[in-house]
């Protein structure tokens, strides 16, 4: 993203959710975005992922500039190049786990790569749950299916928005492990928004946002290090 600015409202009620942010997410790296509520971290992710548009500035995924795309092209880009994992309500309740998993491919009318599917299912440990519907799965299983769905199309980049926010710490840990492994073993580019220092510590790099600006960056973070930094920034 180059010089990205996002403004909500106008005049007195104007809120600058993003204020001239320039940032790049390196391929094959796991980046966490942290910041207090209202710091603009979700807006940053939404804009980079093509869910929202910038007031000014530009966003590139690969060589594609998102601002110039129509809604249809943006949708296709999300379908083919971007994976999403949300905090909750990730799955379509009427479809089975397997159907949810391949949904982006099915929407595109593409055939899933069977080997790739199998290895995904095996490493996610959901092989025996594939025929179940979401309401028959635990929260952790649901999130793992969601991660599988995000990865199934081998997207350029995966965005995870508080993926562990609704999980207990053990299950959350498993999910984070899996995200990290996807980056390390599969060379997947991953961006995660979180306010949990422990979760952020899983990433290669942590970006700290405050008032719509990147205020700090930390490589190879630890949970304690992150907490210290948060204290420094936020005061």
């Amino acid at each position: 993203m180059a010089d990205g600015t996002k403004v909500y409202g106008a005049g007195d009620t104007e809120v600058r959710a993003l204020d001239g942010v320039s940032v790049g997410f390196e391929a094959g790296r796991f980046t966490a975005i942290m910041g207090p509520s209202g710091s603009g971290k979700s807006t940053l992710m939404h804009c980079v992922a093509g869910l929202d548009d910038l007031s000014s500035g530009s966003v590139f995924i690969g060589d594609t500039e998102l601002g110039s795309l129509s809604d249809r092209d943006l949708t296709l880009l999300r379908r083919d190049k971007v994976g999403f994992v949300f905090q909750s309500f990730n799955l379509i309740p009427t479809l089975t786990a397997a159907e949810n998993l391949t949904l982006p491919l099915d929407l595109a009318g593409r055939k899933p790569d069977q080997d790739w599917m199998e290895s995904l299912v095996t490493s996610l440990g959901i092989g025996d749950r594939l025929r179940h519907r979401p309401d028959e799965l635990s929260g952790g299983q649901q999130q793992r299916v969601a991660i599988g769905r995000a990865l199934v199309g081998r997207p350029s980049i995966v965005f995870a928005d508080e993926p562990t926010g609704n999980l207990d710490s053990t299950t959350g840990g498993e999910v984070l492990d899996f995200l990290r492994r996807a980056v390390d073993d599969l060379d997947q580019t991953m961006v995660m928004v979180t306010h949990d220092a422990g979760a952020a510590a899983t990433a290669h790099t942590v970006l700290f946002l405050g008032d719509g600006k990147i205020v700090s960056e930390m490589a190879d973070p630890t949970a304690d290090g992150i907490l210290d930094r948060v204290k420094q920034i936020g005061g």
Binding site: L51, T75, T94, E99, L103, L107, R149
Partner: protein, 905 residues
């Protein structure tokens, strides 16, 4: 609580707007039925007064109950003593009123054409009496006597009512042919008249006739031309202001009785010519009645017609209301389901379950009230529009304001508010059990009634319904219990299937959705899953469509079977080559016997072309046998076999009469069985005017579709019902004749009667089918109104479902579903729901159709024919309705902002 209720309604305008619209439409149709029939009834009531005019007393032949069609005229000789010389009598106007008098004009293409109208085509005498005449000159002058019509060179004069003249372009001063049952004759149009009471003399600005075509002549010409020589239909009497009505009536009655007694005593001594005219009156009674009596009789006659119309309209309106009720009920359930958390919050703030439940019912009352008011306004406008349509298509004239009766408003309010409140009872009861803690839960739901209990109750109701239907179809019941068992059975079956339908909604939706999924992949699959995931909702949404389609299919099955029966009857019984008729659907429409006479002449002239001609005349209730007025028909029995195969079971159509009887009769097996008649048995009957006659049964016939149950020879009608006009005529060509040449020769004669239709067997079949199709089309359009409401119901449910599923839709969009795919998904969900409703509806319609066919007499429907292609078309249409219903919700869904949708709570 009340303020909260109002807030709820105003805040969720869209949801409630759609609900309200359903009620508004239902109430509109209902009130339109009242408004329109009130207007029609008023018009006919006014007409009943107008027809009577300003007379005080009427002198006429007496008839038994229900024989008014066959009232005899009054011999002029017997009323010679009824004059203004009688103390108290101010004026006497002899009246002649004949039917089937058709003026002929030259149309735009230069061809002679007959005036057409849905009203009667009347011929009258123009008396010019200042107090009693109902006709008054609007333009030109009164008709004068030119000379006896016996002189073929005489061109008489006539006047025509203003509307007929202006509609068909008649001009005063021109000469026209008028076709009456006595034959065709030229007359010069000397004036135009209004029909109305003499009050309008001097201010002639309104024609009070609602649709009749009125031709009038001077008295002597009217008598000659309209077959009333030496006769009047009635005499109108007005009294002086100081007269004692009862005394004058007694005086007149005494004079009439004396005249009748005189007639009877000297009947045999009369010269032949006079005897011929007076013989039918030997047994007749002549009475004098008050204006109130005749007005009331006319009113009752009209009332029967209006009641039929009013009942039909009401039936359609009730269907519309029932359909609306389904939609309201469904909407309430869904909306309340979506508001569970909000209602639970109220509970946690201290509202009792009862208060919450009451607030829901209050919402229903408010919606019902608003909808009733809007529906009444809409109904009034719709009635005004329909009246405009009726007047524009020349159906008839309905002057005056549309009456707004308290009854209309009360019924509309009871139905509108009642249906809404009733529909809210179930959901409002369930709301009561919402626990306050539901406010904190994410996935709060209303607990629906258990499906198992529903299936149980549904099965019982459906089985009871089917049992009643079966009873009606198989057992021999009287009309009332038959209709009751069939009607109750149909309702029970419908309610049962409605209760059961959620159980089949999932498999059926899956079945319907499977092919769609094959074509549209993921959106198709999601559409199918969405339609199947809430079977109760799918079933309730489809129910409105089911009702409509069941009725349309019912009509299709019945009319198709009627058509098949008719075609079969035509194929089986009709042997003749050509048919000539005035109006196949009006047994009182007749024409001159001159036509048949001319065709006989043609047959004598060109035996190489025409072998024989048969004239058929109808006497509705024309013969009383065993205390019941029977509809009778006459034909030339000597040659009938060549024209029609009446499926003689026993005997022969040309069998001879027993000595001492007055002729032969062919009797259908049904009445023959009832009255224990066999070949050679005698039948005693009474003709109008009290004349008794005895007939010999010559044949028992099995076909009643063409000529009915009682067929006599033409000579019998000549003697006892000489005024009965020809209803239709059939012609058989000589076997060696060139068909084309023969037809041309016949048409040269029929050309003089442009009011008649000439058709061969194939054409007759085609035109009858066309008429039945037209009738079906009209019924379908009316029923289509309920389908319109059903579409609203699907739109409403879909919109609400989409609202409910916002997050899911956002997720789909986020992970790459295009807007188009999303629209497709919503659209096909609607199509699946609609097809589900359509399938159930068509299945039920066929079932009900079979029941109805069992209930209809075999004369009309004997063969069961299921119009598969038409029913398939209905299914397609219901799918298309689903698509239409989805337009708005699909667009709304595809325009959801992805981010807002994901974040939506």
């Amino acid at each position: 609580m009340f303020r909260l209720t109002l807030r709820n309604i105003s805040r969720q305008k869209l949801r409630y707007a759609l609900t309200t619209l359903a009620v508004v439409l239902g109430v509109s149709f209902l009130s339109t039925a009242f408004f329109l029939t009130d207007r029609i009834r008023d018009t006919f009531d006014e007409l009943a007064v107008e027809i009577t005019g300003d007379l005080d007393l009427e002198i006429r032949a007496s008839v038994g109950d229900g024989e008014r069609v066959n009232r005899l005229p009054v011999p002029a000789d017997l009323t010679e003593s009824i004059t203004t010389d009688i103390p108290g009598v101010a004026a006497v106007e002899p009246r002649i009123r004949a039917f089937n008098v058709v003026p002929i004009y030259i149309d735009d293409e230069g061809e002679p054409a007959a005036v057409s109208s849905n009203g009667p085509k009347l011929g009258m005498n123009f008396s010019g009496d200042e107090t009693l005449s109902q006709l008054y000159i609007a333009e030109g002058r009164a008709p004068d006597r030119i000379g006896p019509l016996a002189d073929p060179d005489t061109i008489g004069e006539f006047v025509l009512d203003t509307r007929t003249a202006s509609t068909f372009g008649f001009e005063v001063g021109e000469t026209y042919i008028v076709s009456a049952t006595g034959g065709n004759r030229q007359f010069t149009l000397v004036g135009l008249v209004y029909f109305g009471s003499p009050d309008y003399f001097g201010s002639p600005d309104e024609n009070k006739s609602p649709g009749a075509i009125i031709s009038a002549f001077d008295e002597a010409t009217a008598q000659e031309f309209l077959g009333r020589e030496g006769l009047y239909d009635t005499l109108a009497v007005s009294l002086t202001s100081d007269a004692d009505e009862t005394a004058v009536m007694a005086d007149i009655q005494q004079r009439l009785d004396a005249a009748m007694a005189g007639l009877r005593s000297e009947l045999q001594a009369l010269p032949d010519e006079q005897l011929e005219v007076l013989a039918p009156f030997a047994e007749a009674q002549i009475e004098v009645v008050t204006a109130a009596t005749t007005t009331e009789e006319d009113r009752q006659d009209f009332d029967q017609i209006v009641s039929v119309l009013s009942n039909v309209l009401l039936a359609f309106a009730i269907i519309a209301v029932v359909v609306s009720a389904f939609i309201i009920n469904n909407t309430f359930s869904i909306v309340l389901g979506q508001r569970v958390r909000e209602l639970a919050l109220l509970r946690s703030l201290g509202a009792t379950g009862r208060q919450v439940s009451r607030s829901v019912r209050l919402e229903a009352v408010v919606i019902g009230t608003v909808a009733t008011v809007l529906g009444l306004v809409g109904g009034y406008l719709l009635a005004a529009f329909l009246r405009w349509v009726l007047v524009t298509i020349n159906f008839g004239n309905l002057p005056g304001a549309i009456p707004v009766r308290p009854r209309t408003i009360i019924v509309a309010a009871v139905v509108g508010i009642g249906a809404t409140v009733l529909s809210s009872l179930g959901p409002s009861r369930r709301v009561r059990s919402i626990p306050p803690v539901a406010a904190l839960r994410d996935q709060a739901r209303l607990t629906p009634t258990s499906l198992r209990r529903r299936i149980w109750v549904g099965s019982v109701v459906a089985l009871a319904g089917v049992a009643l239907l079966a009873l009606g179809m198989t057992a021999e019941l009287d009309t009332r219990p038959l209709l009751l068992s069939l009607g109750g059975g149909a309702l029970g079956t419908f309610m049962g299937i409605y209760l059961l339908s959620p159980a089949v909604a999932r498999p059926l939706a899956n079945l319907v959705g499977r092919p769609i999924e094959r074509v549209y992949k993921v959106p198709g699959r999601l559409a199918r899953e969405n339609a199947a995931r809430a079977p109760r909702r799918t079933a309730a949404t489809a129910a409105a469509l089911t009702v409509g389609l069941a009725l349309v299919s019912l009509a299709a099955v019945v009319s198709d079977s009627m058509k098949a029966t008719f075609v079969q009857a035509l194929d089986d019984s009709v042997e003749s080559d050509l048919f000539i008729y005035a109006n196949a659907f009006d047994p009182t429409a007749g024409f001159s016997g001159q036509l048949a006479a001319d065709l006989d002449l043609l047959g004598a002239d060109r035996p190489d072309l025409v072998e024989s001609t048969v004239r058929y005349r109808f006497g509705l209730g024309g013969l009383e046998v065993d205390g019941v007025g029977r509809d009778i028909v006459s034909a030339d029995l000597a040659v009938l076999d060549a024209h029609m195969d009446l499926q003689v079971v026993e005997g022969s159509t040309t069998g001879s009469a027993n000595a001492g009887t007055d002729g032969t009769v062919l009797v259908h097996v049904d009445p023959a069985e009832d009255l224990a008649l066999g070949i050679g048995s005698t039948v005693d009957g009474t003709f109008p005017g009290g004349r008794q006659a005895t007939f010999t049964v010559a044949a028992i016939i099995a076909d009643s579709s063409m000529l009915g149950n009682w067929v006599f020879d033409t000579s019998t009608f000549d003697r006892y019902l000489p005024d009965a006009p020809d209803g239709f005529v059939s012609v058989v060509y000589t076997p060696t004749a060139d068909m084309k040449e023969a037809r041309t020769a016949v048409e040269k004669i029929t050309d003089a009667y442009p009011q008649l239709t000439v058709e061969d067997k194939a054409e007759l079949r085609a035109s009858t089918e066309a008429q039945l199709n037209q009738l079906l089309a009209v019924i379908t359009v009316f029923l289509g109104l309920s389908l319109f409401i059903a579409v609203l119901g699907i739109t409403n449910t879909l919109a609400l479902s989409i609202f409910e599923r916002t997050r899911e839709l956002g997720l789909l969009r986020a992970i790459g579903m295009t807007r188009r795919q999303l629209r497709r998904m919503v659209r096909w969900e609607a199509v699946i729901i609609a097809l589900f409703g359509g399938l159930l509806g068509v299945a039920m319609g066929v079932l009900f159709g079979l029941a109805a066919i069992a209930a209809i007499p075999e004369t009309f429907v004997d063969i069961v024919s299921i119009p598969v292609r038409r029913l398939g078309f209905y299914l397609l249409v219901s799918g298309a309705f689903g698509m239409v219903a989805a337009i708005f919700p699909a667009r709304r869904a595809s325009r959801l902002n992805v981010l807002d949708a994901i974040g939506y709570e």
